[in-house]
């Protein structure tokens, strides 16, 4: 039963699997994001306090969650690559970093656009906002460290170590609204007890979250193919894969 797990360490298998999975991920992502956008932007009732502006949540929250999820995926892949010396792990981490940085920028930009009408300011030096910004710097650091080495294998391992060290920031971002008195609102969905949101608002949000996750999967699959091909360009299977 463990063979599928071992197969994940083999570049040709991962290349094939990524190529096969990408269209599925993309299709379901389009469905989930499509439903979430229509239901969230048109059907869900306006918030009693924030009015129509609350609809920013349908982009802001999924991208913020995905910025953390992507970092965690990157750090876990890096850890696996460092500990068991599995090269595919480095490819997953390298493919994830730019996607995660994009999610982080999206979360920061939508957050500040939302903050302007609600808080009266685009930016506040609030723990949640600051730690999210640090997350962006960490992504940039990991990416630039990887490209700074002339020997790509060394760059991979250095970036992997930094990704693992930087994982301390993930719980800080997540719990910052709990630990500090924050301008940012607290947890609405993921908490003990019922979510503080009616179903008509909640379902589109969950759909958007799922859609963003699937979209990440799709982009990861596409980027991963490129990473694997580039890393394995000397291997004979690559020649066959490109010919066919």
């Amino acid at each position: 039963m463990w063979t599928w797990f071992y197969k994940l360490a083999s570049p040709p298998y991962v290349y094939g699997a990524a190529a096969a999975l990408a269209p599925w991920f993309l299709g379901f992502a389009a469905l989930a994001i499509g439903y979430g956008s229509i239901a969230g932007l048109a059907i869900a009732p306006p918030d009693y306090q924030q009015g129509e502006a609350f609809r920013m949540i349908y982009v802001h929250v999924p991208s913020a969650i995905m910025s953390l999820t992507t970092y965690t995926v990157m750090a876990v892949a890096s850890g696996i690559a460092l500990i068991w010396r599995i090269k595919v792990g480095h490819a997953v981490a390298a493919a994830s970093a730019p996607i995660g940085a994009s999610f982080t920028i999206l979360a920061l930009v939508t957050g500040s656009l939302w903050g302007r009408p609600m808080w009266g300011t685009y930016w506040a030096w609030d723990p949640r906002l600051t730690s999210e910004l640090i997350l962006l710097f960490l992504y940039v650091g990991v990416m630039s460290l990887r490209s700074a080495f002339e020997d790509p294998a060394r760059g991979d391992r250095a970036a992997a170590l930094l990704a693992v060290v930087g994982v301390v920031n993930v719980p800080i971002v997540h719990f910052s609204v709990v630990w500090w008195n924050s301008l940012h609102q607290g947890a609405t969905i993921v908490k003990l007890g019922a979510p503080s949101m009616p179903g008509s608002m909640l379902w589109p949000l969950l759909s958007m979250w799922l859609g963003f996750m699937l979209f990440y999967g799709a982009v990861l699959c596409v980027r991963l193919q490129g990473e694997v091909l580039n890393r394995e360009r000397q291997a004979s299977w690559v020649r066959e894969a490109i010919k066919s």
Binding site: G141, S144, L145, A148, L161, L162, V165, G166
Partner: protein
């Protein structure tokens, strides 16, 4: 001949300190940088003492972070350039011990020196004498934590041509909690409210990095030297 771990640690710290004191300009430069940066702020801020007093904890801490960062570059660089680091790795001692010794010695000549100089800067910035003890304690904890974080960054950037810029890019994001709690402690000491919350947080960060960062830094050196 092999030596015990403690003996190796002691010898290495001794060697590092000797090397530093033979080249005093390397010791003095970060401190001078610290002094210059903190004097530039009042010049740029129109010399309003009330404004200055509000900003002084932040100015002090940012200058301290930058000047520690300035000296981090040399933590492994000269030893890696002339091959000493490789010899140390091959010496049979654990790499972690070597990293711990080098980092401790580095903190003694940069962080501790900075703590000693800080009252001069604090006086110039208008920080009251009552707040000096808290400020120096917070700086001591903060610079030690920064040395550990910096050891990871310096280990990762050994042998890179433009490693200095990259080192800042790696270490500064990780050091923001230090800046927040360090400046908060100093700020509260000036206004006379309770400082222990921030100090405890700094101490926790210091213990956290002291216990885990040596292993990460040793792994970093191993990766870049391989």
């Amino acid at each position: 001949m092999t030596v015990g771990t403690w003996e190796a640690f002691r010898l290495l710290v001794h060697r590092e300190l000797c090397l530093s004191f033979r080249r005093p300009e390397q010791l003095v430069q970060p401190l001078v940088f610290f002094l210059i940066v903190t004097t530039l702020f009042p010049l740029g801020l129109n010399l309003q003492l009330s404004l200055l007093r509000d900003m002084s904890p932040g100015v002090l801490w940012v200058a301290a972070l930058l000047s520690s960062l300035l000296s981090l570059d040399s933590l492994f660089k000269s030893d890696a350039d002339d091959g000493t680091l490789e010899q140390l790795v091959l010496s049979g001692q654990g790499l972690t011990v070597i990293v711990v010794a080098k980092t401790c010695a580095h903190w003694l000549v940069t962080g501790a020196a900075l703590v000693i100089v800080s009252p001069i800067v604090a006086t110039a910035l208008g920080i009251p004498v009552d707040a000096f003890a808290t400020m120096m304690l917070s700086l001591a904890l903060g610079t030690l934590t920064l040395s550990w974080l910096g050891a990871i960054g310096a280990g990762l950037t050994i042998g890179l041509r433009r490693g200095n810029v990259l080192l800042s890019l790696i270490v500064l994001p990780l050091s923001t909690p230090l800046l927040i709690f360090g400046a908060a402690a100093t700020d509260r000491a000036i206004s006379g409210t309770s400082v222990m919350g921030a100090i405890y947080f700094l101490a926790a960060l210091c213990v956290f990095t002291c216990t885990l960062a040596p292993f990460a830094a040793a792994a970093a050196v191993r990766i870049t030297l391989e």
